[in-house]
């Protein structure tokens, strides 16, 4: 068997709550295959977001390793980890996290500023992605002028614009109505199927989780046994 796309071994993390260390993730082992759409479920406070953040390289583990495409990201320093994120991870947040002072196009263009790319190329690529999420008409709108569903679609375009290999989404539909949620989920599904991105999604919503290939449950920092 070849190495999994993402291999997590013995991952632990605790937060300090006053004097006491509060374990949030306990010895997590998890393999994610290439092209997988994984849903992480579990009660509030079970550590879903913490796990997702560790995989996305925006938080630090206490113990264990996270191998992604042959690189153990827990060994990377601050600057290399930042560069690694910009190359490999696309983020989708519950509250979209678009930059309010930038237009839809500028928001999507933003991650490309970090790449060797001319302004013209950036604009073209950002427009292409906005077209892909069905928002060609909204390029010059500011986030405040868009509905929640539209904002989340802009966020998906932003996450995809650098062509990352992994998309992480923390409750991407948590703030959306049913119809918008459906649209966003279908889009994520498409991103996974057509573009082959690994998608890792934290969600409370069973209907959202249905879109995933694999659903894993976290309970008090422990990952439930993998389904067979």
């Amino acid at each position: 068997m070849s190495a999994p796309f993402i291999g997590i071994r013995g991952l632990s993390k605790s937060y300090m709550r006053g004097e006491r260390a509060l374990p949030v993730l306990k010895n997590i082992n998890l393999d994610i295959a290439e092209g997988e759409f994984l849903a992480l479920m579990g009660p509030s406070g079970s550590g879903k977001s913490t796990l997702l953040n560790l995989i996305a390289g925006i938080d630090r583990a206490d113990e264990g390793s996270i191998d992604i495409e042959g690189v153990d990201i827990t060994t990377l320093g601050e600057a290399s980890l930042t560069a690694w994120r910009s190359d490999h991870v696309g983020f989708i947040f519950q509250f979209y996290n678009l930059i309010p002072v930038l237009t839809a196009l500028e928001n999507v263009e933003l991650p490309l500023v970090l790449k060797e790319m001319s302004r013209k190329e950036r604009k073209e690529r950002a427009s292409l992605l906005l077209g892909l999420v069905g928002l060609s008409e909204r390029v010059d709108h500011y986030p405040g002028q868009l509905s929640g569903g539209e904002q989340q679609r802009v966020a998906i375009a932003r996450a995809m614009v650098t062509d990352p290999s992994i998309l992480v989404a923390d409750e991407p539909t948590g703030d959306l109505d049913r119809a918008s949620a459906e649209e966003v989920l279908n889009l994520m599904r498409r991103v996974n199927e057509e573009f082959g991105k690994v998608v890792i999604m934290v969600t409370h919503d069973p209907r959202a989780a249905e879109k995933a290939h694999v659903i894993r449950h976290l309970e008090k920092g422990v990952l439930n046994a993998a389904p067979h």
Binding site: I58, A83, V101, L114
Partner: protein, 388 residues
Amino acid sequence: MAIPISYSIKSLVTRKLTTALTAGGMALVVFVFAATTMLAEGLEKTLVETGSRQNAVVTRKGAPSEVQSSVTREQASIIESMPGIAAGAQGGRLAAKEIVVLISLTKRGTDKPSNVVIRGISSASAALREQVRLTEGRMPRPGTYEIIAGSSIARRFEGAKRGETLAFATRQWRVVGIFDAGATGFSSEIWGDADSLMQAFRRPVYSSVILKMADPLMFEDIKKAVESDPRLTLEAKRETEFYAEQSKAMSTFLRIMGTSLTVIFSLGAIIGAMITMYSAVANRISEIGTLRALGFHRSSILTAFLAESLITGLIGGTAGLVLASFLQFFTISTLNFQTFSELAFSFELSFWTALKSISVALIMGLAGGLLPALKASRMKIVDALRSV
């Protein structure tokens, strides 16, 4: 890789009011700084231009100004006959024995008295000052109680217009002409015949001897000749230096006052900028977390927030400077406390003053923005993202 500057600019535009208020505070500081510097430079320029590099001034050793100097008739004759003095157009030597006294005159439209320099001139005096042009009337005749007034005096003092009379030293003096000497101290003087003035003021001695050097390079020789002669207890200075020294005390005072005010006010402006920037950071914590997650480095966050603060400084600095530049249209007339006489001069805006003023603004921006920007750049991504 830097966050586009447009992000910083747009963030500033979004909070127009706080940006304007913060920049306004900085503008005030820059205005004060620029205004005092311009004043000091205007004063220096006026007094430096009063002197000529070709001329030397001979006064009593250690006399801080012509008013406090005395040169006896014998000493003046020795100076006059020294070698190295240029010849005038009519053949005579270009050396002028002069007497300088202060009189008190009333300003037009007020009853406030002010000290005015009155200079007793001899035949060579006008030829020694190329800046001096007679604009009205004629020169005073020797042996008469006739005077001519500098343009700035004629404008501001009662009885100093052509055809009017001034009363001082128990006599009536008729103004027979007006002269203009540009932005120099002479424009703030009254000139009359030296002998008449000495008589009227009962002063047996001159104040100074001004001479034009045949060659300015010979100054050291002339100085040595004057200062080594045991009959003379006098000293010689280049006229440019002589007047520059007269501006020193006052311009130093202006500069120290300007710097002190700038430092005090800028502390306020810096604190203002800091409060603004801290709240800008606090309002955008999750935005900062997002930018970091997207792959922007700590240094990019630092730069973006510093840029906001620096741009605020630039706006304030420019506004303050533009405001201060209007001062160039004003002329200040005040007591030069080195000579105890009235002197008119203008605010002078030089390229360096402009540059320094903008630097003051940028320094305020930097000082106010640094801590908030550091705080923004050091935030942990997950903590930043959790705060919605």
